[in-house]
Symmetry: C2
Subunit: 409 residues, 2 copies
Amino acid sequence: MFVQRAMRQATKAQTILGASPSKYAAKVLSSSRLYSTPALAPLDASKLEINPSKNQKALQENSQLVFGKTFTDNMLTIEWEAGKGWGVPQIKEYGKLQLDPSAVVFHYAFECFEGMKAYKDKDGKTRLFRPDMNMKRFNRSAQRIALPSFEDEELTKLISEFLKVDDRWIPKGRGYSLYLRPTMIGTQESLGVGASNKAMIFVIASPVGPYFPSGFAAVNLLATSEKVRAWPGGTGDAKVGGNYAPCIKPQLDANKEGFQQNLWLFGPDHQVTEVGTMNCFVFWKNEKGEKELVTPELDGSILPGVTRDSILNLTRSWGEFKVSERRFTMSDLVKADKEGRIIEMFGAGTACIVCPIKKIHYDGHDIHVPLDPSDKTSQAGKLTKRINDSIMDIQYGDVEGPKGWSVVV
Amino acid sequence: MFVQRAMRQATKAQTILGASPSKYAAKVLSSSRLYSTPALAPLDASKLEINPSKNQKALQENSQLVFGKTFTDNMLTIEWEAGKGWGVPQIKEYGKLQLDPSAVVFHYAFECFEGMKAYKDKDGKTRLFRPDMNMKRFNRSAQRIALPSFEDEELTKLISEFLKVDDRWIPKGRGYSLYLRPTMIGTQESLGVGASNKAMIFVIASPVGPYFPSGFAAVNLLATSEKVRAWPGGTGDAKVGGNYAPCIKPQLDANKEGFQQNLWLFGPDHQVTEVGTMNCFVFWKNEKGEKELVTPELDGSILPGVTRDSILNLTRSWGEFKVSERRFTMSDLVKADKEGRIIEMFGAGTACIVCPIKKIHYDGHDIHVPLDPSDKTSQAGKLTKRINDSIMDIQYGDVEGPKGWSVVV
């Protein structure tokens, strides 16, 4: 009966948590008026306590930066408890988390995260790129795995404060940035399989250099259908930890055969879904002879990438070719390859912006994707490079993008 | 390029780890003979260091036990490192794990576990039930998410030692046991998405009482097809953390409507797969009029439960009715219900052994599953009760089961 008991407790907590912000506010109001039930504390940036580290670690040279390996002096943490809500946000010295071995994050993968970057512009100001998109997705990911929701804008404010405290860690120079990793974990100290009665948001930050330090290097992909990244009704559209570990074994298998990444397929018709941990884009002449940039539609198993959305927005604003979100299959790609219609292909994500693709191994054959033969220093097609430069221009504040895309903190 | 770099390192480590035990031994032999390459240390129970807690916590009354909430005085831990292998196993005071916030277990769900129990028999000896099955599955789960493999029997030996140290925590009495939770987590302190270069096994233990303290209580299920627990090419057949958190939201939704568990369906034909976190069994008269106990076949998306396997073995040994592992759908169940052919239904797992089902809500209708009307004290069919008693008899050493099922430690 422990499952039922845990469920009853959890449902009680969840009934309020699951509500939308406005319903939540209404509940808080009515409960404080009509009952003595204490209201759940919202995430409140004004409560922030800052006790920064007294030790300033040595910064690394820009050339020495490795993704996600070195972290700044401090971190941001906020704890949550069922029946109480969000606690006092803390900026404090970066250090180990102390968790009970029964904490549910270790057993049932109550964990979700975001990847975003802070950039230094030419005036020395710090900018975030579309942080509202990350915060909304973070909330959706949390709700998919029954972790608590939070007030989007408050977390952005807290991250901005964190960036002020660790400002010296934001590397200067185009291509350099401070990678931010907001993470939420369930910390209930009990093995009952139910909603976690405790949780924690932590944000850590790691200075990073360009994904391609010496010009684009295009990747070879192994089209993979035996292992499947995501499924309708699963969690492919949420940034939850459980989506990642199962992809490593197929990735290692692909690496052994000389491929850098998997091209994840789905279904008996081998729909193209994602590339490694990136969204997938094809630029081709479609069967009607139109130039078209296409990426799989958000059908529930595709991660709604911030870079993906930005590419769609930008290229649509150019109005130079058709831009589509729709399904396409390996047969479509094979046919386009045979008919010489593929122009470019690339993966897209926060880490690289775009990652050019040069070859796909599928069903015993290779599909060769054209690059730009006139470019002797880097392997990427012209559109791929243009998209990369356009997004970078906005991220570093050199060009003003759409409203709210580049936010000075 | 960080992905590629991480992959190269990981592949190097994985090449040896991925090998089968015999190949592994051959490699160790050849490497120590022909090269000066240090051999990777296997998991070795003879290296165990025991530094038990000096504080003996107060035991709880049997009636006060709640699943997975109270833990014993000590825990077993063993750390692993790429290029080195397994370290010194430690039995030490139960206490918090200290992990870097960048540890990959928090981000990419590098985590898998087992659930097993230690029982006190009438002579006061401690028994495990088919520990070899748990250890084999634990290894398979680890390999599915690129965590290191280990020597099965050595971990069983270490668990046996742990049980000796915390012997006073094993509750006496039929239905009572010490629940063991072997867990493996990836502890690499770097956000690169690749195989973890560090890992840890920990085993914690929690005294538990009977799942049904006052006679069986049958459950109501909501048949769920919108959210999907597992899929071909996924991880449904591995006991990895990522399988669990995504099931909580649907479970809470079911609870709100008055159902205790989800009946997980799969595919357009609504195949029956699992019940909550249990395997699913139906006892019916099949379309040919034969009495048949049926459970879904192990097609890659069904967890190969130890209780599941034990039930299949036992009932086949009885030779009284047909026992099948095969697919069946909700249409099959609906038809059988209409024709009055369903005799019993139950979930099966380590926590409960069997959990009787009394109702399934599907497609706007209820399927009512018969129980035993002659039994006024508990809600369960005759076969369900007989299976429960037969397995318990073996677990507590009252009846000698098949060779290797009940192991005195």
